[in-house]
Amino acid sequence: MATSNNRRKFMATTFQSVGLTALGGLLWSGYSDEVKASPLVLRPPAALPEDDFLKACIKCGLCAEACVNRESNQNRDGSQRKGTLQMAKGGDHRMIGTPFFVPTDVPCYMCDDVPCVPVCPSGALDMPSILNEKKELDINKAKMGLAVVHKESCIAFWGIQCDACYRACPIMDEAITLEYQKNERTGKHAFLLPVVHSDICTGCGLCEQACVTEKPAIFVLPIEQATGVAGDHYVKGWDKKDQQRVQNANEIHTKNERSKQDASEYLNMEVEY
């Protein structure tokens, strides 16, 4: 009798332990998954895509320390300036302990020697991705984000002359160019419109910081959020290399069932909601 009682007790305890472990695991997984989900965050140069970055970053802060303590980060009187990279703390609503930057606060100054990247011990900042052909660090190859212009609040689009972002850009006349357009409203003035070129823009955010409007009309978004994907059904017919992509385009994704009606039938139909 005693043994069967013991066995029953043992079984019950085991079941409860396993159950509680599963409960703990679910809560923990849910929490971890939620804190991962903060897509609108700008990472240091050479950071892996966000999903891999969150796996890889060991939260040591060596990048942020290299950033703030770089020689070029001093005022004329020798006092230290704030660094670009911050380490996310509780309340920042970003994965805790990971480095990020806020351009309106301190943008990335795109140092030639890129002090933040080589110190990364884990590979979350992927140095090879910003090496040029001569195997030298080249900050111009960084893709921290992409600047986006909101033309309704950009005063250059109103016809007021402003080229603050254009002049603040470290890759001036390449990452942001000024496009001239006739101002039809006055008939005798020109618009000088800032246009961002996504193949050159590194997402450093100097434009965002320089923007004169109350809330910047040009701002940096993470690449993932600031770009679209045309897909393989659309190729540049005039570009032989791009045409090759069409061979990948054999899958057809239709969300709604295809209409079996004749075109003239459904075009003349009343609108149904």
């Binding site: 804190v35 999903d51 796996k55 060991i58 040591c60 802060g61 994965m95 302990g97 011990p121």
Partner: protein, 279 residues
Amino acid sequence: MSNMKYLLLRRVTQMTLLVLYFGANAYGWHILEGTFGASRLFGFIPLADPYTTVQVLASGFVLGADVLLGALLITVFYMIVGGRAFCSWVCPINMVTDLANWLRRKLKLDKEEVNYRFLKRRTRYWIMVLGIVVSAVVGVAAFEVLSPITIMQRGIVFGFGAGIAVIIAIFLFDLFGVKNGWCGHLCPLGAAYSVIGSKSLIRVKHTHENCTNCMECKVVCPENQVLHMINKSSIAVTDGECTNCGRCIDVCNDNALEFGVRSFMKQETRSGDFSHTSK
């Protein structure tokens, strides 16, 4: 008044490390940079936390050589000095939980450890394994998103923010909730270091002939299950859960406890050496 030699030595060590880490960010010192997750010693020796490293690997990312080498160095170091020497000589949370524990004694909040059904001292090992499983499932180092240890250290180096709430929570939990609740029952990092240091060289040794059975050591010990040999047999504390904090040595007025090098020549059994206890 009892001796406080090791207590003071530990506080000096903990504080010195934090000052060095703080200075690395604030003044650009190149002595000890980074945080406990991964650091750089003297500007070139990589160090990394083994448990963090395992979590990152479990999440599916192949880490850089620096971290792997660093984790190896740390593992070897604590395999020698006692795994949980990290807990009592390095970890900043130790100061918080030691304060809570000291206040508990002063306020006489409890005399004995209450036996919680599902909060045992072995719970931390479950959490340790669970942390690795969750890391693999979610694809992110799971303990690192809530570890009060690195939250506190980063708080000191980079600024706390709302992270201070976690530290206060741990303090309150240990003070009003469970005695030695965090370090002794929950912390998976401590569990990992218990495993790493289970065969370590530097150990507390007991001389039972000197012992007057005052039990002061068991009162101050945060893991007093490891002191099962007190006044019973003259053996070393071989349990990996011993943090090598040396408080028992400090409070012992009979020279019955001291640090020593573990001898693997003599057969030492883990829980109760029967050749000694059965007499």
